[in-house]
Amino acid sequence: MPEQPISADDVLAIAKLARLGLTDAEQRAAAGQLAGILAHFRTLQGVDTLRVEPLLHTLERPGEPAADVVVPCAEARERLLSLTPHAREGFLVVPRVLEADFGPASAEPAG
């Protein structure tokens, strides 16, 4: 169990895992707030749960497998594409994920 209050560096690492870009000031503020919250939550650590099974949710029965039937997808391509401002020529434009030397460089899509 962590005894140290959570540091701004810890927050930086967690924020990167969570894909959250924070400014330095936001990192410092988050570290203070998380440390404060975890200090309240530390009471949990005093409970003896050695012989207690974790409860993932309250319906502890086996799930029912779905019937293996093909159902039509009613969603027309055009309607789905109309939901994004980043559609072009019938495709969804996304930022490049591969380095340029994996193939011919394409224009960076506008945001």
Binding site: A18, I37, L44, P54, A74, P95
Partner: protein
């Protein structure tokens, strides 16, 4: 505002015109909507089209269903095809649902007329609606106060009589707590009783959808429409018993336990006084009330840490899909990682970022056992303690919220102070139990009189008993106090039904 049940009966009998009901709701929203900010979107044209559809069904001799012509408001995290689905977040600003949720499908099949999308704390994270990226909703009893949250828009809309019926979602108290703070009836069904297909996920092991209504009979009517098995949500179960028919049943012989943990000195004295009076009324109606000393729910005081660790962990995973690529706006950046960081860093609000950080922390290597798994184990202790109580009692009772509606801004500086709003509702969510908040009077003394909510909690899948007991309580108590806006005379009310 008339009851949903009466309006539907009037429409089915051809006595009330769905279009007139829709116009009435639209007019009320236009008159009071600005001041309360209960709605994020009202689509008057779609509302009128839908009302006319229902009217045409009646003219054609078809029965539109149990909610025929009833104007309903829907929280902006429950999908209605073509409508806003912002979840109160800038990261989904302008996003429109490509399909309807199971709940909306059921509502439309029952003849309901959706009038608008209600305001909420961003991604349902909050207890005051102040975390909405689009500004807070105001409490119709006192616009300087919060309506509670996260379903604050839905609660305010019903309390102010803008619509007779609204729907919300609850993860830790988000239906019952705003219902209590606004003086309406809010029902949280058993986990799994209502399909979440089309609900934007927050804490998947906790999330449920339920009604906010003027009384328990309307809540039962609405619950019966939306509950039941849906193959698209594997937690749903079949065979829910119809509640509406049972509403109004006698309270005689009902064994009601009042855990000491629900009535300790941290609960506001006025809240305890109103709940005490409610318990006396239940006893006078023949219920057998047992006040329990502290100690029957010994781990309930850990519900806040358990709830915030479990729900935030689940949220950190569920909200990973909002990356600027698949939904909503994008903050442009030179590479993909930076696109994620900028989009999520700038478009999620402060509380959502905080919970994603907390959840990611609790799930991260080195902390998983100490925080997440510890919380899951204590969650089981809390469930087991509730189940043990149900060996002795049919229902549990207590206050819904430890305090009445508080001033806007009063709890925004301290996240933990806001988390404490859930202290009497989150344990019930952790145990997945059905529970209702019903109005039980107003605070007295200096300042604005504010509504207080009585919470009733039932066994798993005992939703009908909770609803029936609440209806019986309301019948014994008589018409609850309403805020000034609620009953304002209108053609629909005048034509009607009560």
């Amino acid at each position: 505002m008339s009851r949903a049940a009466d309006l539907a009966a009037g429409v089915r009998a051809g006595r009330l015109d769905p279009r007139a009901l829709a116009e009435d709701a639209l007019r009320r929203i236009a008159t009071h909507g600005e001041a309360l900010h209960a709605f994020l979107e009202v689509d008057a044209a779609a509302t009128r089209r839908r009302a006319d559809e229902v009217a045409a069904q009646v003219r054609a001799g078809k029965d539109p269903g149990a909610l025929a012509g009833v104007p309903v408001a829907i929280k902006d995290n429950i999908a209605l095809a073509g409508a806003s689905l912002s979840c109160g977040s800038r990261i989904l600003a302008g996003y429109r649902a490509p399909y309807s949720s199971h709940v909306v499908e059921r509502l439309l099949a029952a003849g309901a007329v959706p009038v608008g999308r209600t305001n909420m704390d961003e991604f349902a994270m909050g207890a005051s609606t102040e975390n909405s990226a689009f500004g807070p909703t105001r409490n119709p009893w006192d616009v300087a106060r919060v309506p509670g949250g996260s379903s604050g828009g839905s609660a305010a809309a019903v309390a102010a009589g803008l619509v007779p019926l609204a729907f919300g979602s609850e993860t830790g108290g988000s239906i019952r707590q705003p219902a209590a703070l606004c003086g309406v009836t809010g029902f949280k069904p058993t986990y799994g009783a209502v399909s979440r297909f089309g609900l934007v996920a927050f804490g998947s092991s906790l999330d449920v959808i339920g009604p906010l209504a003027a009384d328990a009979a309307d809540a039962a009517l609405a619950h019966d429409v939306i509950a039941g098995r849906d193959p698209r949500d594997s937690t749903t179960y079949p065979g829910a018993r119809p509640s509406a028919a049972r509403a109004g049943r006698s309270l005689a012989g009902l064994r009601v336990g009042v855990p000491g943990e629900f009535m300790d000195e941290s609960v506001d004295a006025q809240v305890r006084a109103r709940v005490d009076e409610a318990l006396e009324l239940l006893a006078a109606q023949g219920a057998r009330i047992t006040r329990l000393p502290l100690g029957r729910l010994p781990h309930m005081d850990l519900s806040i840490p358990v709830y915030y660790i479990v729900s935030s962990s689940e949220a950190s995973s569920n909200l990973a899909r909002f990356d600027g690529i698949r939904y909503g706006p994008r903050s442009p950046a030179p590479d993909l990682l930076e696109t994620y960081l900028r989009t999520r860093g700038t478009l999620f609000g402060a509380e959502v970022r905080r919970r994603i950080l907390l959840g990611t922390f609790a799930l991260s290597a080195g902390y998983l056992d100490a925080w997440y798994k510890k919380a899951l184990a204590v969650r089981r202790l809390i469930l087991d303690e509730f189940i043990a109580l149900f060996g002795d009692f049919d229902l549990l009772a207590g206050p819904t919220s430890p305090f009445p509606a508080f001033a806007l801004g009063a709890r925004t500086d301290d996240p933990y102070a806001m988390y404490l709003c859930d202290i009497l509702t989150a344990p019930v969510c952790l145990a997945g139990l059905p529970s209702i908040s019903v109005p039980c009077g107003l605070t007295r003394g200096a300042g604005t009189a504010l509504p207080v909510g009585l919470q009733l909690v039932g066994r798993p899948a005992d939703d009908h008993r909770v609803l029936a007991a609440a209806a019986a309580f309301e019948a014994a108590r008589g018409e609850p106090e309403r805020c000034a806006l609620f009953g304002a005379g209108t053609p629909a009310a005048a034509s009607g039904a009560r």
